[in-house]
């Protein structure tokens, strides 16, 4: 496919810091290669802004190959842009046409305060993870080889699919309720399905759900938007599994 160059108009959310009042700014950007990624396009915009002695747009990025979960962006009304199963760094300008106006906004959630421009603080996810998203291992020096525990292939696959979550927060961003249930569902499931995780399963689900509520995320109303927008295709089955785990743990656990 021959590369083309397009001219676009960008409407980008600019906000100095967490407490400042933000607003949409409009920028024109010419000669954008359709081969460039969305983030490269933003790099190009920032170069232009720097040359004009203006403040560049702050946005999160790291690996730029769709695995670190660092990039975000609500592009033209959708988390990670118009393609499915991709992160923003995997989105290319060939998905847009000459003359397009593209809205770029940060994730919007009470639990993800804006740090600057398009950068949000997703440490709420870290705190949920710290509340129970782990397996306690006694490092006595006689740790058992993980492969010595037989795990059915089906369960291993399901756990792996859940563990594919990169914690980018697209589920929260896209949910009309700002709910983090897909993220927490995935993190609960990846352990609940494995024998190593079953030991602490009850405490884990209760603590993680409690932390999720404390962070101020909304409630799941099963619209299914998160599953559609998740770049890693995390299934709603994980939310149901968490609900199941949480119901039974609430009814039977001591706490």
């Amino acid at each position: 496919m021959a590369s083309k160059f397009i001219n676009i108009t960008l409407k980008i959310w600019r906000q100095k810091n967490t407490n400042a009042k933000g607003g949409i700014e409009t920028y024109s950007l010419a000669n954008v290669s359709t081969d460039s990624s969305f983030l490269e396009m933003l790099d190009q915009l920032n170069e232009q802004l720097i040359n004009e002695q203006k403040e560049p747009v702050a946005f999160d990025h790291d690996c730029r190959e769709g695995i670190c979960g660092m990039c975000s962006l609500y592009i033209n009304g959708r988390a990670h842009g118009p393609e499915t199963g991709t992160t923003t760094c995997q989105l290319h300008m060939r998905s847009f046409t000459d003359g397009d106006t593209i809205y770029v906004e940060p994730w919007r959630s009470r639990a993800f305060p804006i740090v600057k421009d398009l950068v949000v603080d997703r440490s709420a996810f870290d705190r949920i993870q710290q509340a129970g998203g782990f397996v306690s291992v006694n490092t006595s020096g006689r740790t058992m080889d993980a492969n010595a525990i037989p795990i059915p292939k089906h369960d291993a696959d399901k756990a792996f699919e859940a563990a594919a979550c990169i914690g980018c927060g697209a589920c929260v961003a896209t949910c009309k309720n700002g709910s983090a249930m897909l993220f927490v569902g995935a993190k609960v499931s990846q352990y609940a399905l494995l024998p190593q995780g079953k030991v602490e399963a009850q405490d884990r689900v209760i603590n993680m759900v409690r932390q999720m509520d404390e962070e101020g995320f909304g409630n799941c109303t099963n619209t299914g938007a998160c599953e559609v927008e998740c770049p890693k295709g995390i299934s709603l089955e994980n939310i149901a599994r968490m609900n199941r785990e949480f119901l039974s743990a609430s009814l039977t656990a001591d706490k």
Binding site: R108, K176, G178, T223, A225, L236, A240
Partner: protein
């Protein structure tokens, strides 16, 4: 939401079964069947308990729904300038609160029109019967008498007429002598309400009912299958079936509810 919602789905089925008697049987037979049913629903202890459970379920469903909606709105204090929710979710799933509110408005009018009249106002006429009696009580031969419900004593058809056996108490028209409790004539109340010849506002009532049933259908379209997901029931074997049943339920139940006032409107 899920538990109360599913309970209210079962309530809809029960209510629908009762309502269908309005159109399945016609004439005097239909009137009697429906009024007997209404009497049973108002006097059976089990039904009485069930009705309080239903009121509670509606209240909890509403209060829980409002509380969750407030929390969910707080979870996103600044809204997106540009959002395309249609790309990833159904409009029904995103509109449960507004659909539920509309259903609540319908429910208020619905209860004012029927439940209030029946339970509180007692403005419902009693079910009267033309009776010819071999041995007329109090000299009321061939008079219009209120047909009564006394457990264990049923009218016996004799030569094509309903005869009430001696010993059954009656309410005599014109005399205000209450001999026994009669059926409240809910059937006539409902028929007149939706009848174009009896009620000038019947067309509006029927249209409002129809729109409300469409709203209910959308609410159920998402609500039925969503309840299972909330309860943690999501399984490759059962979920496709639950979704099919949910869709069928959301279409069939409101449809059957909706055709009843339409048929009454057209025929009366």
């Amino acid at each position: 939401m899920a538990l109360t919602g599913l309970f209210l789905c079962t309530f809809l089925v029960g209510h629908l079964a009762g309502n269908l008697q309005l159109i399945l049987k016609t004439g005097e037979e239909g009137r009697r069947a429906f009024n007997e049913y209404a009497y049973f629903m108002g006097h059976n202890l089990f039904i009485k308990i069930l009705s309080y459970v239903t009121y509670a379920a509606i209240l909890i469903h509403v209060i829980d729904g409002i509380a969750l909606t407030i929390q969910n709105r707080k979870a996103r204090p600044v809204r997106y300038a540009y959002s395309k929710p249609g790309a990833n979710s159904s409009s029904a799933s995103r509109s449960m609160a507004i659909l539920g509110t509309l259903i609540l408005v319908f429910l208020a009018t619905h209860m004012a029109n029927f439940w209030w009249q029946m339970k509180v106002k007692e403005a419902v006429p009693l079910h009267t019967y033309k009776l010819e009696m071999d041995n007329p009580m109090m000299g009321a031969a061939n008079a219009e008498l209120y047909y009564t419900h006394v457990p264990g004593i049923q009218p016996i058809p004799k030569d094509g007429k309903n005869i009430i056996e001696k010993g059954t108490d009656l309410y005599i028209k014109g005399t205000n002598v209450k001999v026994a409790e009669g059926y409240r004539d809910l059937h006539t109340l409902v028929m007149d309400f939706f009848s174009k010849s009896k009620n000038e506002g019947a067309l509006f009532a029927v249209l409002f009912y129809l729109i409300s049933m469409i709203v209910l259908a959308y609410h159920l379209l998402h609500g039925f299958q969503s309840a299972f997901q909330s309860l943690g029931i999501n399984h490759p074997k059962y979920t496709p079936l639950i979704k099919i049943i949910g869709t069928a339920f959301a279409v069939v139940v409101p449809f059957l509810f909706a055709i009843i006032p339409v048929i009454i409107y057209m025929n009366h």
